[in-house]
Amino acid sequence: MVEKRPALSAAAYAILALGVAIVALPVYVTFVASTQTLDQILEVPMSLVPGTELLANYTAALTSGSERAASAPVGRMMVVSLVVALTVSFGKIVISLLSAFAIVYFRFPLRMFFFWMIFVTLMLPVEVRILPTYEVIADLHLLNTYAGLTVPLIASATATFLFRQFFMTIPDELAEAARIDGASPMRFFWDVVVPLSRTNMAALFVILFIYGWNQYLWPLLITTEESMYTVVIGIRRMIAGGDAATEWNIVMATAMLAMLPPALVVLLMQRWFVKGLVETEK
C-alpha cells in the first residue's frame, strides 16, 4: 500500500481477516468433523474442538470407505483421481504445445481455419457438449475407463491458445538462427521452444491439475463402477443415502483427503507458478 494510515490499514486487515475466515472456517469445521465420531457430529450444536477419532476415521476412509454407503475405499478413489488429473494435465500440455507450435511456426493450407477451429472449442467445454460426447464415449465402449474419463477433457483449446500467445513473443530470429545452425523443426521445438516454455508449462500444470482433480459432472456421468469413481464422485455417492445413512465423519475425512493433493501441487509449484504467470524468460 502506498499510503500509511492506521485506520486504513486496520480496515484492510479486517477485510483480509474476514476473507480468510470465510475460506478457512468451513475447512476447519470439516477438519474437526473428520476427527469426531458420528454421534459427536450429530450433536447440536456440534463441538468445534477436534475429537480423538482422527486416525480411526482416516484409516477407515482410506481402506474401506463408507461402509453404510457401500462405497469403495477412498485410497482407490484417490488413485483414480490422481491418474485422471495427471493424464488431463500432461495430455493437455503435450497436445497444446504441439498444436500451438504447428500454428505459429508452420505455414500450411488452412492454417488460420484450423486455428479458429481450435479457438472455437474454447466455447465448447465438456459440460456444453456433454450429451454427444457421452454418446461417443459409450459407443466406443469407454465408459468406466481411464480413457473415457480423460480424453474428452483433454480435447479443448485453452492451453493451445496460451502457448500460441507465448510462442508469438519468441523472436523469429531464434527460429532462423536454429535453422541456420541446422536444427530441424522438431529439434528446434525440443531444444529451444520447450525449455523456454518451462515456466508457462508449470503454471499451466497447476491450473490443469486442479481442473482435472475437481471434475464432477463428467466422471459422474460415465462412471458406474465403484472402482472407477474419483474422490469427488466418491464424496457425492457417500452422502447419497440421506442424512441418517450418512457417515459424516468418514465423509469429512474423505473431503479433507480430496483437498490435499491440489493444495500440495499449489504449494510445491508455487515458485514456478508465480514465475510463469508474471515473467517470461527471453
Binding site: 530470429e173 532462423e176 538462427a177 545452425d181 541446422g182 524468460e281
Partner: protein
C-alpha cells in the same frame, strides 16, 4: 571460404516487389557492405543469401554452387542478427556449440572450436554465463562466436551493431575489422550506418528502394557518387544538391538565384537542366569578387574538429564545413568559392551522374 554471386536476383512479397534485378559478385575473402536507408531491402537480400527467404527470380551461388533450393543449414553460411538471437536458456558455451552438436561433431572437437572462438573474441571468462547475464557488447561477441565456430564459407551480418551505444559501436567496429582481416572469410555486412560502411567495406553496395545505386570501393563511391541519391546518402553532412539550368558561366536555380561557375569547371551544355552537387568541405570562404555564391548563415554547429554552417540558398538547404576556429554567427554572409574539380553534375531526370569534360 567462397565467392558469393547474385545474378538478376529479384524478390516480391505477394504483389509488392522489394528487390529489382540485383547483380553482385562478392569475391572470395572480400568484405562487402550493403548500405541504404531503412526499408530499401538490405535485410531481404541477406536473408535470401542465407536461405531464409526464397528468391522470386534469379540465381544465388555460394562457392560456385547454385543454392536457390538449398536449405540454410546446407549453404555453409553463418548469420549474425541485429538482436543477436542467442538461445536465452543456453550458456555462452552451449550457444556456440549448438550448431556443431547438431552436425554431430565429436565432443572434444567442439570444445576445441569453442575454445578457439572464445579466445579470438575474448569470451573465455564468460563461457558459463547465460545471455541475460551479459552486456550488449558481450552478447554481440557471442553472436559472432556462434558464427565463427562453424568455419563457414561466408559471414552474413544484419546490422549487428545497431543495438549498441555509440562508443561500443566504434569499438566493435574496429574489432570486426580486425577479425575479418585475421579470418579472411567472405563477408556480407548490412547496415544503414554509412560510417560503418565506409570503414569496414572493401567494397560497398548502395541500395535505394530495392535497386542497386552503386557498387564500389568506399572512397570511389564518396568521390564519384553514381547518382544524386548516393551523393546525398554517403557523407556526413550530405552533399549539397542544387537543381537549375546551365547558363553562360553560371548556373541559374529555380527561384532565380545564380551560382557562378569557376573557369575550367566541367559543365553540362548551355541551356541544359542539371543538378549541381558540391560537398560541404569543398565550399571555401573567398573574397566577394571570386565568390560562386553567397550564403546567409542560419545555424552553426561547432563539432570541435570543424564547424558546420547551415543556411538556405534559393530555397535549398546548404551546409558548409569550415575550420573549427571560424568566426561567424547567425546572419553572417559567407562568400563561398567552388573548386573546379570538386563539382558533381547529375541528370535531373535519371538522377544519374553526368561525366563531363572540363571546359
Amino acid at each position: 571460404m567462397a565467392e558469393v554471386v547474385l545474378r538478376h536476383v529479384s524478390k516480391s512479397f505477394g504483389k509488392t516487389q522489394v528487390i529489382y534485378d540485383m547483380d553482385l559478385v562478392v569475391a572470395d575473402g572480400e568484405f562487402v557492405v550493403i548500405v541504404g536507408p531503412s526499408g530499401c531491402g538490405k535485410s531481404t537480400v541477406l536473408r535470401m543469401i542465407a536461405g531464409l527467404e526464397p528468391v522470386t527470380g534469379g540465381v544465388i551461388e555460394i562457392g560456385g554452387r547454385v543454392v536457390n533450393d538449398v536449405e540454410p543449414k546446407d549453404r555453409n553460411i553463418a548469420m549474425v542478427f541485429q538482436n543477436y538471437a542467442l538461445y536465452p536458456h543456453m550458456s555462452v558455451r552451449e550457444n556456440m556449440a549448438y550448431g556443431l552438436r547438431i552436425r554431430g561433431m565429436p565432443k572434444a572437437e567442439i570444445a576445441e572450436h569453442v575454445a578457439r572462438a572464445a579466445k579470438i573474441l575474448e569470451l573465455e571468462g564468460l563461457l558459463d554465463r547465460k545471455p541475460r547475464e551479459l552486456s550488449g557488447g558481450q552478447r554481440q561477441r557471442v553472436a559472432m562466436g556462434r558464427a565463427i565456430v562453424r568455419d563457414p564459407a561466408a559471414f552474413l551480418f544484419d546490422e549487428p551493431l545497431s543495438n549498441l551505444d555509440a562508443k561500443l559501436r566504434v569499438q566493435m567496429r574496429l574489432e570486426i575489422q580486425k577479425l575479418s582481416r585475421e579470418l579472411g572469410t567472405t563477408s556480407l555486412y548490412v547496415t544503414h550506418d554509412q560510417v560503418e560502411a565506409m570503414t569496414l567495406a572493401h567494397r560497398m553496395v548502395v541500395m535505394n528502394a530495392g535497386r542497386v545505386e552503386q557498387i564500389g570501393a568506399p572512397l570511389d563511391v564518396y568521390l564519384r557518387p553514381a547518382s544524386a541519391f548516393v551523393a546525398a546518402f554517403i557523407g556526413v553532412p550530405p552533399m549539397n544538391l542544387l537543381a537549375g539550368r546551365v547558363g553562360e558561366g553560371a548556373f541559374t536555380l529555380g527561384n532565380g538565384l545564380v551560382v557562378r561557375l569557376p573557369a575550367g569547371a566541367p559543365r553540362p551544355p548551355f541551356g541544359a537542366e542539371a543538378i549541381l552537387g558540391v560537398r560541404p568541405e569543398h565550399l571555401a570562404p573567398v573574397g566577394e569578387a571570386e565568390a560562386a555564391l553567397t550564403l546567409t548563415v542560419e545555424t552553426i554547429e561547432r563539432l570541435g574538429a570543424d564547424t558546420l554552417a547551415h543556411g538556405t540558398f534559393d530555397g535549398n538547404p546548404m551546409v558548409v564545413r569550415l575550420p573549427a576556429e571560424a568566426t561567424l554567427q547567425p546572419g553572417t554572409r559567407l562568400a563561398l568559392g567552388l573548386v573546379p574539380d570538386e563539382i558533381h553534375w547529375f541528370d535531373p531526370q535519371t538522377q544519374k551522374r553526368l561525366d563531363l569534360p572540363g571546359g
